[in-house]
């Protein structure tokens, strides 16, 4: 989870590090803590630390964590020779380590040697059949080969055993969305909302899926979840505000003629419009006229 304060801190550090202002290690720690994918920057700044013997030895045991971080970043940037060199160093330090073995298998994956990687992972699973990360890597491998339905099958099998793994639920939801299987995706997002009810982004994603599904009932539920997103973010999520407006106009188009609860609906919408206009006026004044006309079109059609 990345909160607003952490986001600001990250941006500040990123700027500072990119302009050569030092604190590269702090930046790398923050990226690792927040689990972000900044492979190019991690590779550049991580390598510059690793290539400097003085800086490297001052890290102490954290040096090896940095090696691991750089290996993954290097594979992500297709600098396979760098990854290979780093793995060699790690192997020398930790012979027969499972964690290093996993990195090697990932290197096979990055090279595109799927069969060999699969073989390596299967042998890991024989040693320890409940290794969650290996199971997840196998899912990712199926995804990387373009076999999305196979990935879904594997992930479903995995989730039967490890039901509390919300990262896996999220991945499954995203896979379903990519295949336009919205009903199944909605189920996954329900599961995620139950496990982390205070996370507004899952409410938002669930509402998006329901809105895409369409139909009066789904639209009404979607609107409620957009509203709960607004509640949890204090009205600072622009997407949820737009979602409320779109849902209201879609609902009123469906219920044209039987206008019973129109008053209540238009109030929520007009409040959302007001907040949106205020937000745009503050942050992007040159786009305000476009937004105003678009929103006006929505209210008129409803």
């Amino acid at each position: 989870m990345v909160t607003k304060t952490e986001d600001n801190q990250l941006n500040r550090l990123e700027n500072q590090v990119d302009n050569g202002g030092g604190e590269a290690w702090e930046y790398l720690c923050l990226v690792r803590k927040l689990k972000l994918r900044r492979s190019e920057k991690v590779l550049r700044h991580g390598l510059s630390i690793l290539n400097d013997p003085k800086k490297r030895s001052s890290l102490g045991p954290d040096e090896w964590t940095l090696y691991e971080q750089v290996v993954v970043a290097a594979m992500d940037c297709q600098h396979l020779d760098v990854a290979k060199d780093c793995i060699k160093v790690l192997q020398k330090r930790f012979p027969e380590s499972k964690r290093v073995g996993r990195l090697e298998a990932m290197l096979l994956e990055a090279k595109g040697l799927w069969d060999e990687a699969e073989k390596a992972y299967t042998s890991f699973l024989e040693d320890n059949p409940v290794d969650q990360i290996i199971h997840k890597r196998r899912v990712a491998m199926a995804k990387a080969q373009g076999n999305i339905s196979g990935a879904i099958e594997r992930l479903n099998k995995y989730l039967e055993i490890f039901m509390a793994d919300h990262d896996a639920w999220r991945e499954l939801a995203e896979l379903y969305v990519s295949l336009q299987m919205y009903k199944q995706a909605a189920f996954c997002y329900e599961e995620l909302i139950i496990s982390q009810p205070t996370l507004p982004l899952f409410h938002l994603a669930y509402a998006d899926v329901l809105y895409t599904l369409g139909g009066l009932e789904n639209l009404q539920t979607a609107k409620k979840y957009y509203a709960s997103t607004i509640d949890l973010t204090g009205g600072k999520n622009t997407r949820a505000l737009f979602g409320i407006c779109l849902c209201t106009s879609a609902i009123s188009q469906l219920t044209k003629g039987k206008s019973k609860e129109d008053k209540d609906k238009s109030q929520v919408q007009s409040l959302a419009v007001k907040v949106l206009e205020k937000d745009y006026k503050q942050r992007a004044p040159d786009k305000l006229p476009q937004v105003t006309t678009a929103l006006k079109g929505l209210t008129l059609s409803s």
Binding site: M1, V2, T3, K4, T5, D7, L34, K35, L36, R37, S39, E40, L43, R44, L47, L50, N51, V72, A74, M75, D76, C77, Q78, H79, D81, V82, D85, C86, V89, M106, E109, A110, G112, I133, K136, R137, V139, A140, M141, K143, A144, Q145, D167, R170, E171, E174, T198, L199, P200, L201, D231, L232, T233, G234, G235, K236
Partner: protein, 106 residues
Amino acid sequence: MGLGFAIGVFGVLILFHAAYATIQYRGLLKITEEEFSGPPMNVVAELLLGLFFCMWAALAVPGKFLSIHPDSEENRIVSLPANLDFMIFNHRGKVFPGQMDLKLRH
């Protein structure tokens, strides 16, 4: 921090003084052979003052209060972590090789 701590020390001193005054008062009662019905007014006032100061110090010294509102800046979640366990390397970055001079030197 310094001010809060000083106030706390002052509050504890006042409490000690209240205890001392009470003991003295009971000694005086024994001499005049009267019944003890309650502490005198100045001790009660000291106790209230001491309580207030100690409470102030307890709230101010240990540290800052953190927000518990889900929509405050510290708690408001703006993005989810990248799902790194499911990271794949078979993406469009493959076609765009980055800097070529990167190398691990030992």
